[in-house]
Amino acid sequence: MAKMFYEKKRGFKYAFIFLLPGLVLLITFIIIPFLSAFYLSFTNQRLISRLPTRFIGLDNYKKILGDDLFWKGLLNIFKFVIIVVPVQTAFALGLALLVNKRIKFTKIFRTVYFMPTVTTMVVVAVIWTFLYNPEGLINLFLQKISFGSWQTVDFIKNENWAFPAIMFMSIWQGVGFQMLIFLAGLQEIPISLYEAATIDGANNWQKFMKITLPQLKNTTAFVIISTTILAFRLFDQVKVMTDGGPNGATYTVVLHIYNMGFKRQYIGYASALTVVFFLLVLAISIIQRFLLKEEREVS
């Protein structure tokens, strides 16, 4: 009897009031804009225009094929992913192993390594622009450790150096976040596994390869996927430091969306870029999930 009473009270009629505000907001500000990105990508919509919006089919997508700036931005993003994702992931794992040791003060170091992540990216970009100055600290440091053979570089304005400089800074800012994710993963590995390995006479390297890494598979997958997607979204630091320059060396896909959709107000064209961007992110996460899962099953 009682059971029926409260089961009846669990229906949609009762849930509705809890779901309503969230549903309205999600539909209005995520689902509708998302769907309209697809619709708009087939039109010549401008932000403010006296001409009526026209349906132009695949013209925007054809235009993307011949849009050198888009391809430049995409190529840069791939460069960013290929370098930053493995370096940052390995660095983060190293940091996590270091601060996971059962020795004193590790909590303080954890806090310190995480500080850049708390610092707003725009601020980080400003500080590093200062450090990257030709007369700045980075040049001085490189000169000191190379015994004076380092040639001073204006990192931000140099076509070869601007992007590596942004990559380095991005790793500095973001690695603390991944470190904490790894740390959470490390702490879930049962100690008994290591104890058993010690009895079997395994050394530290063997323990790392046979226990730590396999046990961290899911965590590593998460870190790699999230870093890759963050890399695809690269915008803030580039906008502040170089605005895509010099000569397109730091141009990115999101910067292109911003320039086309906001600065030039080509809503239709920017929406097509946006759709392509979304499909790329979707494809990357599906491919990565697939590859990482396969690996998991094999081992």
Binding site: K9, F29, V112, F114, V123, V124, I127, L180
Partner: protein, 284 residues
């Protein structure tokens, strides 16, 4: 078998290597922040430029707060702080309600289409904001919302990721928890407010922290929708200020310090909770 003495020696070596590494790394992560603060305290712009490439840059002498007063004199800095605080706190507070309520609705009720709705929420998590920024600009422009507070608040209250975090938490509650209350005639809202919310303090804190950090650093959207200093939040104000030539590094660093120091202090105070909330994002 290693002897007790050689084992102790190995541990000692391992410890000293670990500490050396940790200290070097700490220096690597801290020096830009220390550099920011010390530069902000140097009132002499020429001196800053002269020192920027030397170790002396870390010790401002004479130190003064002149750059800080310059920032207030040159721009409505208090206005920017107010804007940021207002936008971020409204978004986070409203977000806590909306997202937890939606999650509660999904986790504690059984109705047709519930599972589908959960999958839709999970699917929405994959849409990056950059994908919807342009159509959202067109839409909010049509609403006449540009250059306002609400255009920076309302679209960011509901968030599928936070709904999902709450959902995972609420789904773990046993049914018996609310059954007694239901029999006693309590309303669902009362159950949500008096039972579920008090039990959810850890997840509330985590979501609040994550949401706060996201909104505090949010740059792309405010850059698109704010025109003048009136509704501009800190990151956009920083970028505009930074873009003015000639660059006054002392003032810029004072601005950066004022924007960063409160958050860093808050972070150190709430450290434990912080760590938990970040690790939470890794739970899949």
């Amino acid at each position: 078998m290693p002897t007790e003495r050689s084992r102790k020696k190995l541990i000692l070596i391992d410890k000293s290597i670990s500490y050396t590494l940790m200290i070097l790394l700490a220096a690597f992560f801290l020096f830009p922040l220390i550099y920011m603060i010390s530069t902000s305290l140097n009132p002499d712009e020429l001196d800053i430029l002269k020192r920027m490439g030397s170790i002396k840059a870390f010790i401002p002498s004479p130190a003064s707060l002149k750059n800080y007063s310059d920032v207030f004199a040159r721009m409505p800095f208090l206005r920017f702080i107010f804007n940021s605080l207002l936008i971020v706190s409204s978004t986070v507070i409203a977000g806590l309600f909306v997202n937890s309520m939606m999650a509660f609705g999904l986790a504690r009720f059984t109705f047709k289409g519930r599972k589908l709705l959960v999958s839709v929420i999970v699917a929405l998590m994959i849409i990056p904001f950059e994908t919807i920024a342009v159509p959202l600009l067109l839409m909010t422009n049509r609403f006449g919302w540009l250059d306002s507070y609400h255009v920076q608040i309302i679209p960011f209250i509901a968030n599928p990721f936070y709904i999902f975090l709450f959902y995972q938490f609420f789904i773990g509650f046993p049914k018996a928890l609310e059954e007694a209350a239901l029999i006693d005639g309590a309303s669902w809202f009362k159950i949500y407010w008096k039972i579920a919310m008090p039990l959810s303090k850890p997840i509330l804190a985590s979501v609040a922290i994550l949401h706060f950090l996201m909104q505090w650093g949010f740059f792309l959207w405010p850059l698109m929708v704010t025109r003048g200093p009136e509704y501009r939040p800190l990151p956009v104000a920083m970028q505009v200020f930074f873009g003015q030539y000639p660059r006054d590094w002392g003032d810029i660093m004072a601005f950066a310090t004022m924007m960063t120091a409160p958050i860093l202090i808050l972070f150190v105070v709430l450290q434990g909770q912080y760590v938990k909330s970040v690790s939470q994002t890794g739970i899949k």
